[in-house]
């Protein structure tokens, strides 16, 4: 008879000490140096997502997609430096005399918005952990604005993408980052209402991925589907990405960045000791591996052969799900969390396209929105302290019930000023020729597009 190791039966680690509230605390010199080093590797995740955005779009929009990745990051960084960082409030979080907009209700303070110095004044004199927090947020906002860019591929104008990045970096991201990372009311759920350690999001499952996924949904709804995607009769038209190699290589790059991102987030927001960093990285890898194995199996079973782009989506969904809880879940739990993400990702991608008429070329709504949501719920299940699940549910309710309608409203108004959708002629020519005047692959022969009958 084979004895089953108890670790496989109980997925949560009972020996993990309770996680302290996600409020910035002073770091040792070693922790500062390691976190800084990790954060300098984290942009590889952004590079990976940029490659995936480009590879899953069409060849006639590849240059616009890649340039758009750069432009959106640039706009988001500038706007976040001017105003966003002030509202996020991480530059002076935890310091005496911190300025923030606080409401008082039910006898508790509810910190709603940071009111720190504009234009990053005082950055050099801020505490080391605050400087790292601001750097983390710069990377996070750059990642957030890239996620909807892939969903609007082949019809979303560059100017509208940049305007959306500005809105996200100025208003929506700082608001969410303050609630979760800047000592806001979600971070204080533990101290104010005894809900675990407060809302936990070490790697940005909520602040980056759910936010990006929800924005992607709003963009897809407002811009509409690509021409010919949903014909008058029959099922939707398949419009596969033009370069599977970009997509898979993007997944590999994303892994490196994600390992760094989750480890840095664990030190900064979950106060994990340095000894917990290897475990966090292993959990991240296991979650992605479990997700890939699951997606590979599901697509092999459904279609007879594994699907490359869906497998890439599954891998990324595993990484996203790990963002919420890689810092404290056990390896077995991480494998399980990734496996669940890998099962629902291909199924949800199919449901969104076939049943709900949502044209999302990169699958960001599923990969980042739904997998981020699942990671946050899983964090509640696998966190060591009681009340954590309720804290996670309150955070999810805030994101879905307040932040998503806010995003939709802002983008709806923005669409009136800067129209999102390119004109039909531009869509037929391709975004490269229409917006940039030249294609990404000038020596390639472009064949006739059968979807424009």
């Amino acid at each position: 008879m084979i004895a089953i190791p108890p670790m496989l039966l109980t997925l949560s680690l009972a020996s993990i000490p309770p996680i302290p509230a996600p409020i910035l605390v002073p770091l040792t010199d070693a922790a500062f140096a390691l976190t800084l080093g990790l954060l300098l590797l984290a942009p590889l995740a952004i590079a990976g997502v940029a490659l995936i955005n480009t590879g899953l779009g069409r060849s006639r929009s590849a240059a616009q997609a890649m340039l758009g990745n750069l432009a959106l990051i640039a706009v988001a960084a500038i706007v976040f430096a001017f105003v966003g960082a002030s509202f996020a409030g991480s530059l002076d979080a935890g310091s005496p005399g911190v300025k923030e907009f606080v409401l008082h209700a039910a006898g508790k303070p509810w910190s709603v918005l940071g009111l720190g110095p504009f234009l990053l004044r005082g950055l050099g004199g801020a505490a080391p952990q605050n400087q790292l927090a601001v750097l983390f947020e710069f990377l996070a906002v750059a990642m957030t604005v890239l996620l909807p860019w892939g969903s609007g591929a082949d019809r979303w104008r560059l100017a509208a993408g940049c305007a959306t990045a500005a809105v996200l970096a100025a208003i929506v991201f700082p608001l969410t980052a303050h609630w979760i990372w800047g000592g806001g009311w979600l971070a204080a759920l533990g101290t104010n209402f005894s809900l675990g350690a407060g809302f936990l999001d070490g790697g940005g499952a909520a602040t980056v991925h759910m936010l990006g996924g929800m924005t992607a949904l709003a963009v897809v709804w407002i811009a509409g589907p690509r021409r010919g995607k949903f014909p008058k009769e029959g099922l939707s038209t398949a419009m596969p990405g033009h370069n599977a190699t970009y997509v898979i290589f993007g997944c590999l790059l994303a892994l490196v960045g994600w390992l760094a991102w989750n480890a840095a987030g664990a030190i900064l927001w979950l106060h994990a000791p340095l000894a917990a960093v290897p475990g966090t990285a292993i959990n991240t890898l296991l979650s992605a591996s479990g997700a890939l194995a699951a997606t590979f199996s599901v697509t092999r079973f459904r279609f007879g052969k594994p699907d490359a782009s869906l497998c890439a989506n599954g891998w990324l969904a595993g990484l996203v799900a790990s963002s919420a809880c890689a810092g404290f879940a056990s390896p077995a739990a991480s494998l399980f969390i990734g496996g669940v993400a890998g099962v629902f990702t291909p199924l949800l991608v199919e449901v969104l396209e076939l049943a709900l008429s949502i044209d999302d070329p990169t699958g960001a709504i599923t990969v980042h929105g739904a997998a981020g949501l699942w990671g946050l719920i899983a964090a509640g299940f696998f966190a060591p302290q009681s009340g954590q699940l309720l804290a996670q549910l309150v955070g999810i309710a805030a994101l879905l019930g307040f932040v998503f309608p806010l995003i939709y409203l802002l983008l709806f108004l923005l669409n009136r000023v800067v129209p999102f959708r390119v004109d039909p002629d531009g869509e037929r020519m391709g975004m490269d020729l229409h917006e940039l005047g030249g294609g990404a692959y000038p020596e390639f022969v472009i064949h006739r597009d059968e979807s424009y009958r």
């Binding site: 949502i358 309720l390 019930g401 409203l409």
Partner: protein
Amino acid sequence: MKYAGLLVMPAGFFLALAALALFPDPGRRTAFVICGLIVEGMGLAVAVRGHMLPRGENRP
């Protein structure tokens, strides 16, 4: 219908907030937060339904 669903979603959020402020005991608090999430889910479902493309001639 597109916008009705999106208007219902904040109602679920305020239910969750009310649960925090009004109920100190974990049971009722959890129940209200879950009710808030269900309301948000219903709002999202209505919004999704409203955004679905009509079948036939009106498709782009």
